[in-house]
Symmetry: C2
Subunit: 171 residues, 2 copies
Amino acid sequence: MKHTLVALLRDQPGVLNRAVSLFRRRGFNIESLTVGHSEQPGISRMTLVVDGDNTSVEQVIKQLYKLIDVLKVSDVTADANVSRELVLAKVFAPPARRSDLMQIADIFGARVVDVTPDSLMVELTSEPDAADRFIDLLKSFGIREMVRTGCVAMVRGSSTVSAPKSVDRAA
Amino acid sequence: MKHTLVALLRDQPGVLNRAVSLFRRRGFNIESLTVGHSEQPGISRMTLVVDGDNTSVEQVIKQLYKLIDVLKVSDVTADANVSRELVLAKVFAPPARRSDLMQIADIFGARVVDVTPDSLMVELTSEPDAADRFIDLLKSFGIREMVRTGCVAMVRGSSTVSAPKSVDRAA
């Protein structure tokens, strides 16, 4: 089963690598990994999508907590959450096929951000599953170039995934 | 000066860490780093925003090429390119301030994706500079939780950043 984990890390050299190594040693397949700024200066927020059963994901979360500079780890899979991914793709689209492609982009809520005589560049922000389906459709046109950010996730409602106030996690 | 680099890497354990270590050893400040799937299976695409003068960025690109599993590195700073970043933010917004916040979201083209009695969750896809300005405005409301993907970039027009066809880079 796919699990979406949100982890808060101190901005320190090597912390990302230690966290990723942990998953690799445990044989987890990391489907997507994204790290970026959080709301707190000096703290990065990592979103990980991994495939594994509940017990082994719980185990790896415990292991993550043992790493220095890992402040918080939450499995948000079971929570109602907003999961989003950004895709940029340059797609073959000679004039005869351009309107077909624009129709598909429109259905998915993607935007055309550049055009050349034989290609379009489209930008999509959506749930990762919808991004997969969109990309599958683009393949029938021919994808010249593509980049995906990987999934970022946030729990709906009032609760937050935040570092302890002191940022000095209890050992 | 800020440089935006696009690199194509084989999906192999440790390659990301070796690339990042290289920048760290050279004293580069990595402003943003994003890795995700590319259009080719088995090849990841990394977008890096680093601060440095032209000469030292050129040097580090040469060093990157020496790493195993680094297939291609392009400095796209001088090319006309599309740079985008995805931001999710949960912002304090009691009913009295909600319409102010929604107005700002509207101006930036952000979407409201969740609402609670005292907060809104907004999603923005934009150029990184616009994202910075948006986040600065959100701070006056109070940001409860935020995640950014970091910048992804793609050159406009017909040219692409692609791995050599054979994927066997000349030594």
